[in-house]
Symmetry: C2
């Protein structure tokens, strides 16, 4: 096996959030561990939304979650002497663990390939409470995280070498990487960087026309709401327009809604695609009612984001609306090749969709922990936006949602020239210099298929994404400010 | 999306161990739950190696495993008042949990896409102890079970529509299903049913010639040792022959060794492909030394089998020997699309490769539990083989290894005729009748690409696979014997 004899589609795939810059950062981290003298003593991992990463981000897990998980792992704890047990585990935690154990039998057993039945029923309840509509139990699939769900569905839906997929720019690079791997042609449409990163519908329609004229067949559209890497939030009207577009063009919608709990403002609250789609069924307009019955929607959710940040468990779910039963049977079959999602990921979904309720013993602590995480994220986003926004050439908005800010920088021609000399795009060059000088690991816009825009005078608008997770946000900002001022001096 | 517009390769994939018969069994189970009156009160799930499945199989998890898992889930338990804590958790359990927590930071954090570094180091130690050779740390990948590892490597190695793969018959249907899904041409070679299910090397060479003559390019060979569904074990000589074949024909070896701890006899102990390959490096024959340096070997292992049976955690690992570093980089990149394997699966690998040692506080209990599971499996295999082997037309050997027996039945022409009338192969017909009459769910040979052999008189040799896991083996055997006698009366 050599690079030129293996799957060319695998070779083609790029995944920047774990690509060159993070690899370089790992190398620096190893050098620091081996005593290298650098101007900083740690790498700041702000390249990926991994809230519980130690020691830099170190978001504490929710107590309720971990208590239930421990009891399901080692049920003997439920049979301890009751005073000790009750002092250690609130009764609602014990009750939840018993329910889950009754249904799973053991966390060491395979479940149904769609996931455990009790948990899926609770997802149905959650969807009902969130959107006002009961869902068919069989339309809910538990997954090993949203990424696994996306890949499963790409494998089933798309004929390699034949189909195309509409992907926003900027995008989360899972979509471009999976398109490359599964030989689906990516067709990029733009988000309006000057207008809350709203979908540029004129551009979407144009891209579809151009694609079709070239014999390429877009069969689905990816929408990420709240936005990654943009931190944007969609309006109800915008979601309706996406649904109408999908209806007119015969597209499946992939609604990546993994950041639905990460919304930091009130003007654009989270509304699910599913709710908007099902609401259309109540319209007086028969065309809209038809959309509600016809448009195929995949909604993806995850336990890795929100206030839980339980990335390592690998858990999530997707819901299929308006899909043919025969297609669903194929999804189930291909899901079964991996037997089932990890049990603790499935249990995580249960805890996500069924948090403690007011009045239950675990509620107060859970509420306090969740609020604290929420406010920390919001504060950090605002702090980063404020401090970086004061820097020359930098335009930054706090995240409306998700876990990222996505600053725009106006960089000089001399920066572009310096980047070209080392064979890099200017945003990559900036981020590599940032990493080497400060240990801060961020991902350039290019990694999200959003490339520097070069102006007539040779200067550029460049972007990068940073998470809003760093525990030492102040320190990160200090390091950053110093670097940026120096960079702007070097490349005026 | 309709069946004729989705990925035709996905539609083509078949996965019998979770296919028609298990689906039918689920239906029967639901009917029983809803009070249906059938001649039996439960489905006996002997279709898949899922040892901890409740209530039928109900293998107890190893205490050591679950204690460590609970502490890593909820580290507050480590900070309990020490008398209570030490009474509940042996000190080596606490020590192990602390080590793992130090390295993982949190089980809620993503790890390296290859898996946690500490666990991988322990896999290296395990390989050293098992085979006598230290492995390069970077050659070890932790996975979400062996199936996930196989699929990852298929995606990276094989150019869809171009490459072919040698698969044994009978085989575990993951291999045929993944071949279909990833558009790799399966080329089946036979195992010698009359000779310990040894590889039929004449047949392998013939299949390669035929394939090449047809323009099909076999690039790898799958070997399952101990065998699934056959329960066979390979000799050192046979493994050497496979390596020589791979060397001569330029094939990558996929050595599926997930049942390496499930060996119930001493004539054919488990020897790893890796050990045999590396031992060739010490040969006086330069050609053999060359093989040792050249033949690319993938060795797969899992926490789902053995004496642990921790299927629900989704954990395993593979080791790459003699692969090009550029190809390895592609494996890592594609692995990173799923971020990382589940943390509790990775911790499971640590517990698998680093069990308690003699003298440590957990050793005695661990040893007792492991021995008990081992002897139970061995006894059940022998019981099933003995009792079923006494039945007319039935030839059964106890499992030499793995978790299955694979009886051969001589079924009459009238059975074949009856099967044909309902559009089934005779082995499928037999297994469906068995399920409906007794609730016992087994998988016919056809599900393992091993089809009935029709004799001149219209009778057939048919096979089926049953696990040796059923808690109520006696009851299973009773139901089975009764059914078989009745079947043979109906179709004499």
């Amino acid at each position: 096996m050599r690079l030129d004899t293996i799957n060319p589609q695998a070779v083609k795939a790029e995944y920047a959030v774990r690509g060159e810059i993070p690899r370089k950062a790992h190398q620096i981290e190893r050098e620091l561990e081996h005593g290298a003298k650098l101007p900083y003593d740690s790498v700041l991992w702000t390249n990926i939304g991994n809230p519980q990463q130690q020691p830099i981000l170190a978001q504490e897990p929710l107590t309720f979650w971990r208590q239930v998980a421990a009891l399901t792992e080692y049920p003997a704890l439920l049979h301890m002497e009751s005073t000790t047990r009750d002092a250690m585990f609130p009764t609602d935690v014990q009750e939840r663990a018993r329910q889950l154990l009754d249904s799973f039998g053991s966390v060491g057993a395979y479940t149904n390939s769609r996931g455990n039945e009790l948990v899926r029923q609770h997802v149905v309840d959650f969807l009902h409470e969130r959107d006002g509509y009961v869902e068919d139990f069989d339309n809910v699939y538990l997954t090993a995280g949203a990424s696994a769900g996306v890949q499963l569905l790409f494998q089933v839906f798309f004929a390699p070498g034949n189909d195309a997929l509409l992907i926003p720019t900027p995008q989360y690079p899972l979509y471009s990487a999976a398109s490359a791997l599964y030989n689906v042609e990516p067709v990029y449409y733009t988000l309006r960087s000057d207008h809350d990163w709203d979908v540029n519908f004129d551009n979407v329609r144009e891209q579809i026309s151009v694609a079709r004229a070239a014999g390429v067949n877009p069969r689905a559209i990816v929408v990420i709401n709240p936005g990654n890497p943009t931190g944007s939030c969609m309006t109800k009207d915008e979601i309706e327009q996406v649904i109408e577009l999908a209806y007119n063009e015969g597209l499946v919608i992939f609604a990546d809604e993994v950041y639905q709990a990460n919304v930091y403002q009130n003007e654009r609250p989270f509304i699910s695609f599913r709710k908007v789609l099902l609401d259309l069924g109540k319209s007086s307009d028969p065309r809209k009612r038809d959309m509600s019955q016809i448009v195929e929607l995949v909604s993806l959710h995850s336990i890795s984001k929100g206030m839980t940040g339980e990335c390592g468990r690998r858990g999530g779910f997707f819901v299929l609306n308006n899909f043919d039963k025969d297609v669903d049977a194929e999804v189930l079959k291909i899901a079964s090749l991996n037997l089932c999602p990890p049990a603790q990921g499935q249990i995580g979904v249960d805890l996500l969709v069924r948090p403690p309720r007011e009045g239950e013993p675990s509620y107060d602590l859970w509420k306090k922990e969740v609020s604290s995480i929420f406010h920390t994220l919001k504060d950090r986003s605002e702090l980063i936006a404020k401090r970086l926004g004061e820097l020359p050439g930098m335009k930054v908005e706090p995240a409306k949602g998700a876990m990222y800010v996505f600053p725009r920088m106006h960089l000089s021609k001399s920066a572009s020239d310096a980047a070209r000399k080392v064979g890099k795009k200017v945003d990559e060059f900036y981020c590599l210099e940032l990493l080497e000088e400060t240990g801060i690991c961020v991902i350039p816009g290019s990694g999200f298929s959003f490339y520097p825009e070069y102006l007539e005078d040779g200067s550029s608008y460049s972007f990068f994404r940073t998470t809003i997770l760093a525990k030492g946000t102040d320190e990160m900002v200090e390091r950053f400010v110093k670097f940026h001022m120096h960079f702007m001096e070097r490349f005026p």
